[in-house]
Amino acid sequence: MSSQTAGVLQLLALIAALALAYRPLGEYMARVYSSEKHHEPEKWIYKAIGANPTAEMRWPAYLRGVLAFSAVGVLFLYALQRAQGVLPGSLGFQAIDPDQAFNTAASFVANTNWQSYSGEQAMGHVVQTGGLAVQNFVSAAVGMAVAVALVRGFARSRTGELGNFWADLVRGVFRILLPLSVVGAIILVACGAVQNFSGIHEVGRFTGGSQEWNGGAVASQEVIKVLGTNGGGYFNANSAHPFENPTPFSNLFEVFLILVIPFSLTRTFGRMVGSLRQGYAILATMATIWIGFTALMMWTEFAHHGPAFEVAGGAMEGKETRFGIGASAIFSVATTLTSTGAVNSFHSSYTGLGGGIQLLGMQLGEIAPGGVGSGLYGMLVMAMIAVFIAGLMVGRTPEYLGKKIGTREIKFAACYILVTPALVLGFTAAAMALPTPPDSMLNSGAHGFSEVLYAYTSGANNNGSAFAGLNADTQWFNSTIGIAMLLGRFLPMVFVLALAGSLAEQKPVPATAGTLRTDKPLYTGLLVGTILIVTGLTYFPALALGPLAEGLAS
């Protein structure tokens, strides 16, 4: 069997596995967020928090909950890293410097997991397991909560109430992320991922002497890293490290975990708004982009244009033997089309066009299928932009799911769309114009520019992967990327929740013969086109200077 055939078969197997999980998981999540029953342990937690889980919140209250919880998360994680030197169980690792500690705290709370440190030489057990891994759970649950609040905005009418943030947060962790993580972690250990609390210890070598290893609760962190579309690796090499991702099966399993919640949430959405077909239209849009990008990536990586790859006879630089080209391409597209940013192969050493596909995937706003929660709400905002554009063409007030997309709604949607490009392009321009930031580039020319563009694209879109040649552990990059991550996460949430509140107050308008049907293939086509055009117009000049220039030169 050729490597190309094996790559395609792996993609097909992945599609089949996701299709099998789609209905049960999507329906289950709809029940989780709609159920009025509170489990006994959950009641204890609400008591400890001092929150009443049945109290409905309007959008400002819901937003205050999100922001308060996240702000506390940033401060706690910052303090934990600064105190590492004196904490027990830190393996003797020192306190993290203030700029890097801020960057890392912002990164993990914003579900980005950009890492300017390398795990095995900076973070001990306490920070990794008690700090970073905890944010892997809760930042994912926050994203899902905001998505569900927006879905309720569509589903409800003549009320401003969007649910209870604390209940959505706790249920997301308890009923969805934790059970799946326990099962997934055991499967990863069965493949060979490590899971222990031993300190750094010496192990013999074949040629004599010894090597020093770093143990840790790796599998339990790895599983939530992918399931929660977080992406922050225990080790520097992330999912390329054999202790995190030991076999071709574990690799495909990790890609499955990255994609399963974002895709299945479209079923949850369809169920909660009372029309499964609306969910299928969104699903079809996400799947079209995802499969198209994967096919393109496999094509360019197997074709291996670029001087070094042509001498080598294949684009294997930065890729692992056990995965090869096909499984690496699948992983890299899944991680950049979601907000994951985990890598099983190093993006900087992809072909010029391959790097362009990764950048474009993030620049789409990570909505195909996107991060847990953030993918769904990002896609629904684009869905509103698409009906708005269609409405302009025929001169009708646009509607989506029976709700009018009026001036107020479209303003929030437009603000949402503008946040990340403003952060990405503004910071990239500033970094290139200032005298010292360009010193961080490893490669020169077009690829060096791509490193900087990639860093801000990854940060502002909450991805976390990198063209890792860039030395991002400087005060400039730690601070600006940290700010980009926080604004890129929480400003869009403000607009989404405001939008949700405004939608929930409307009374539904009945569909007429003139209403654009948003559950048909025609609409899916319109939505795919809108996404590509809006993103293309925004980023084309920047892409032309980086990956396109590099790809066309080789």
Binding site: Q121, P248, A553
Partner: protein, 225 residues
Amino acid sequence: MNTSVSHTVRLIGAGLRALLVLTVICGVLYPLAVTGIAQALFGDKADGSEIKDEAGKVVGSSLIGQTYNLPGQNPDDPEEAARPDLRWFQPRPSNGLGTNSVNTRYSLILSGATNRAGDDEELIKWVTDAKAAVVADNSTAGFKVRPQDVPAEAVTSSGSGLDPHISPVYAGLQVHRVAERNGLDVKEVEKLVRDHTEGRQLGFMGEPRVNVLELNTALKALSQN
């Protein structure tokens, strides 16, 4: 004003309590429970898949690649170029590993890629030199390696820098040299490589591969008997 301040304080307090409760559950109980189950069911794997040689001595992890170099000639020179010990099967190059400059207390194995672009001059040189070395090292009196026979992974660095595998093609290129250096029959070494070749999982997942440490451990046993 006062009410809004006390409101904010109450909210921050709720956020902090929520974070602490979830930290206990997701950051303490969950990893402990998973570690307990993992250690009970798959203890060896959870501890890093260590493998032992015939004498029972731990020689490393089957998941972590190693180098097989000759001892340095000048112990005072850390910059000395490593020379491969051609008795053993050689792994992929590993040009991406930095030195452990952050933490001077340990000499940990570090993971990392080169992150070089396809048009990077240094990468082109590394690949060109590696290819020449593979051809020169593996050609014996009766077996000539041609540059076009050398697979891509043999001359490039992996993502982790710790890739434990090489392709069966690269292992096959090394058979004649290894047989000659160990005074073994080519057929015997070929069989050893065949026995240590893993196909794709379930026939389609990943790529065929040979675990270098396991292969060398078996080779050592064979050449000593």
